[in-house]
């Protein structure tokens, strides 16, 4: 009996489920019973964190600082001084880029003083006309890649200007132009360091694991405490959030460089630095570029979230539009964000792939042609702005700057569309909405909440054990234990319920659609292109259309999550199925399988490990979206994190809540990844 049980995994699973159900039935729902809910031993953890942060910020290591206002030395805590100077520096950089495009006086003030600037009113940078910036970007696009890219960036920037989103867009852009390169640089450095030193890698790895799955909001709170509120805080939060994938991918890319290429570099007489800069990093550029791309996406995804702690720009406007339910406006702003994301992505890609021509014997004019072109565009733009000054007498010079929300707008159209949809499908939508909430979501949510803690532990650790033995069981148990001992077990269950529902739906849709598309090369290409495009959209963009249809409800959140989280499920399924070697297809055909037999007996089993990783990504995506859903109202961990943003003592709560979310993700990650790796090893693929 025991022997069969040890061998047969399905039998183990069956036994586990029986035990799970028994536990659910037998353990009474009683707050005092620790089998029902574990004692909240970590209840004081947030307070401890708060106190430590306070100590660090206000009492630790006092130093004497010269205060020019009172002309005296004053004792100030070191930490505060350090974070203040970082804030100041980042803010200066952001302001500098921003004023370059929009005009202003702060940069000049930094180098002189407010008094001087007031006395000399001429010393004011007027900002570039939008025509010049657009022209400049078009030239850049042309220089880096050619006509295609030039047209696209030209279109994108014109759209932004014409729709009256120029100012917030430039604010956002200035913030991204500082955050993204910083994140890329830090990521690259850490990636290289972790490649060179095993110790660094061992230390960084768990941190990156947690960081990549921590909800966006969790970063905001400590950043707010340490760096205050404003654009710089938003940028710093963004940098912290966007760096981990860069570190990962740099390290991965460097490790994948063939040993012989590194040896060739050495034999060609490279020093360590030359080897890294000219051989290893360029050879790993595919993965590093993927990292750059990820950073840009993360930065744009953070645009809205960073606005919660004071970043100006599109994110802020979008948030306000969403809150006022001005769907059309939100949509237009959303398109701006997506356009900026795509423009930056394509430009960085083109820059990295640029080639030099050594044989062109060029004249001065040819060598500097782009500079000359830009000079021309600059002159033309300024002249146009001057003419505009003459034409548009009533305030707005459209050839210089199209003021905020004074451009073309399609909002009435979208609003009419929403209204029409409401009028036409009101009962259908409402019916569906109510059915989903009353008959599906609420019962499932209740079922989750009715689970005794001990049953949850048994189920999850049991699955961990079946998949990866005692080690996996202990790891996932550890993650769960942390959550169980905070006071937010119930909230975590709600998060898990939303996530589970979404992952189930996304998984089914993704795998079915992926499997269907994988049958045909064209369909595969189209699906992958779709995935690429949709992945470019920052996650909250998905909230806009669903809110149009379902208003502020759990249904909206669920649907947004499903749409967002289906992308990786579909992508990994297609890629997994498509990477089944063609010899195996041939071998199958020669064994006389028909199409379905081939799919079910050859392709699917071979791509299961890959699909499992897709589901893993789906979980990550879904978790991120569940938390973002808090912006339009849920009652899970995300809502609490959002709440701690406005709480004076929010750091501890925010961080611990963030860890709870991260640990849910990591527990699932542990199980899925272990399973996928075991399957891969068993199948001899990687």
């Amino acid at each position: 009996m025991m022997a069969t049980l040890q061998k047969s995994k399905p039998l183990q699973l069956l036994l586990l489920i029986v035990v799970f159900i028994l536990l659910c039935l037998l353990v009474p729902a009683n707050e005092g019973n620790w089998l029902w809910r574990f004692p909240t031993l970590l209840k004081s953890l947030p307070v401890v964190i708060n106190n430590s942060v306070d100590y660090l910020m206000f009492d630790w290591w006092l130093i004497d600082v010269w205060d020019p206002d009172i002309e005296e030395y004053e004792e100030k805590p070191l930490m505060r001084q350090v974070t203040r100077s970082i804030s100041g520096f980042v803010l200066f950089l952001i302001e500098f880029v921003r004023e370059l495009m929009l005009g202003g006086v702060k940069t000049i003030v930094t180098f002189t003083s407010w008094d001087w600037a007031t006395e000399n009113p001429w010393a004011r940078w007027p900002g570039l006309p939008w025509t010049v910036v657009t022209g400049g970007v078009v030239i850049l696009g042309y220089a880096l890649s050619g006509v295609g890219l030039a047209c696209f960036v030209g279109f994108a920037f014109t759209y932004i200007a014409v729709f009256g989103q120029w100012e917030p867009s430039m604010q956002t852009l200035s913030f991204v132009l500082i955050a993204a390169p910083t994140a890329i640089l830090i990521g690259l450095l850490l990636g290289v360091w972790s490649y060179k030193s095993k110790t660094v890698e061992a230390v960084l790895n768990p941190i990156l694991n947690v960081a990549q799955i921590m909800p966006h909001f969790s970063y905001l709170i400590p950043v707010m405490v340490f760096f205050g509120i404003g654009d710089h805080a938003g940028a710093i939060a963004t940098i912290i959030f966007a760096t981990p994938p860069m570190v990962r991918l740099t390290n991965l890319g460097l490790k994948k460089v063939p040993a012989e290429v590194a040896e060739a570099g050495l034999m060609n007489g490279c020093t360590d630095w030359q080897l890294m800069r000219r051989v290893l990093i360029p050879s790993a550029r595919r993965d590093i570029l993927l990292g750059v791309n990820q950073v840009i996406m993360q930065c744009l995804a953070m645009v809205v979230i960073a606005s919660l702690i004071g970043a100006k720009g599109l994110g802020n406007d979008l948030l306000i539009a969403l809150n006022r339910l001005r769907i059309g406006l939100a949509l237009e702003i959303g398109v701006c964000i997506v356009l900026i994301a795509i423009v930056l992505d394509r430009l960085s890609l083109a820059w990295a792939n640029k080639q030099t021509d050594y044989f062109a014997d060029q004249s001065f004019k040819e060598r500097h042609k782009y500079t000359l072109w830009f000079a021309g565009v600059f002159a033309a733009g300024v002249a146009l702005a001057g003419i505009g000054q003459l034409i548009f007498k009533e305030g707005f010079n459209y050839l210089y700057l199209i003021p905020h929300n004074k451009g073309i707008t399609t909002e009435p159209f979208w609003q009419a569309g929403v209204d029409w949809m409401w009028d036409t499908f009101f009962y259908a939508l409402k019916g569906f909405n109510e059915w989903l909430i009353v008959d599906v979501l609420i019962p499932v949510k209740k079922a989750f909440l009715a689970m005794p803690a001990i049953a949850t532990f048994t189920l999850v650790m049991g699955i961990g054990f079946i998949v990866g033995g005692i080690r996996s069981a202990l790891i996932v148990g550890g993650y769960l234990l942390f959550i169980a001992m905070t006071e937010w077990w119930d909230r975590a269950l709600i998060t898990s319920y939303l996530m589970t529902m979404a992952v189930l739906i996304s998984g089914v849709i993704g795998i079915v659609v992926g499997t269907l598309c994988a049958q045909n090369a064209t369909a595969t290409r189209i699906l992958l292109a779709w995935c690429d495009t949709f992945q470019t959209f920052p996650s909250f963009i998905y909230l806009i259309p669903v809110m149009m249809l379902f208003g502020v409800t759990d249904t909206s959140v669920l649907i947004a999550i499903v749409v967002y989280a289906t992308i990786p499920a579909a992508r990994y399924t297609v890629v997994g199925l498509r990477s089944v070697p063609s010899e195996l297809h041939d071998a199958g055909s020669m064994s006389g399988v028909n199409r379905f037999q081939r799919l079910f007996s050859i392709e699917l089993p071979l791509s299961f490990p890959h699909m499992a990783l897709g589901i893993n990504q789906t979980v990550v995506f879904a978790l991120a979206m569940v938390i973002i859903g808090a912006l339009i109202g849920t009652d899970d961990l995300g809502q609490l994190i959002l709440g701690s943003l406005s709480d004076r003592q929010g750091v501890g709560n925010g961080l611990v809540l963030g860890f709870c979310v991260a640990f849910i993700g990591l527990a699932i990650d542990q199980i899925l990844r272990t399973w996928a790796n075991k399957r891969k090893a068993a199948l001899g693929i990687d």
């Binding site: 570099g265 034999m267 050594y358």
Partner: protein, 356 residues
Amino acid sequence: MSSTASNPTDPTIRCDGVYKIFGENAKRMLQSSGGVVDAAKFQENGCIVGVNNASFEVYPGELLIIMGLSGSGKSTLLRCISRLTEATVGKIYVDGEDIRSLNNKKLIELRRSKMGMVFQSFALLPHKTVLENIAFPLQVKGVSTKDSIARAAEMVELVSLSGRENYFPRELSGGQQQRVGIARSLAIEPDIWFLDEPFSALDPLIRKEMQDEFLRLQSVLSKTILFVTHDFDEALRLADRIAIMKDGIIEQLDTPANIVLNPVSEYVRKFTEEVPREKVLKIETVMEPLEANHEVSDLKVEKDAIIETVAELVLSSDKPVSVVDDAGQVVGSVRASKVISLLFGGHNQHEAGRAS
């Protein structure tokens, strides 16, 4: 390419009791044994002996081929000499200088001035064009972009890749990529040329073409060459001398002809028995000493000629053919019967089977 091995010059490369031992315990064990290596003992303790007591010399202009099957330690030995891997024990001299004692800076200097290396998987930089790849060793040395590109353009010509200067490696065939690899390794005009299975990743026809190309280059350049291969035919075709390795040990180091004629061990014999002798042996080996009463034809063959290349000539003559040395002096004669017995003789029976 006539052998300069007999010249009493100083060796360019000299290895003296070189060992390479892999394994976590290797260092500790070495310390406890005071630097004396007993390979068997290391193996018992879970170490892998990659190179086991290699001692040999390579003379200027000589082409030494290290031949062995995979895992025999041939590439490891090559990497010890180029110091891509640090040897565990032993002395390695390049031009009389003990390279194991060089610091990093001197090592880089040595590689920049004297060494070039070609890799099995080509190891081209994927982000650089043909021209940039070839110019790379010059650029890391500090040569200006203009000069290095000009020099690279010359090298492109040398390896017959004109017209493909601005291609990326991924746009080239395997053979073309290896031509780039060769050009890159030669860009700094090294004295010593390491080739690590340079043609193993190529199709047989391309491989043959590249070997010809390689011989052409070597006849012009006369580098000192260490060439690693697992292909015995390739070794016979190219080498001045061959070192056959097995399990880290050099089983035999000799000229191709001697290896074929006198294999020292069963292992070496296995390689040689498949080899058609006429393709390896020189006329010298079947030559008879000149005797006064001997009647010879007017035809002449060189004593260094490979038998296969002159067999038809010898067989077509009804009298023995005279053999001449480099100076054109008649040093002996060769009879058709000798050549026939070599071509179709007893120790070559398998040839008949192969031909059918």
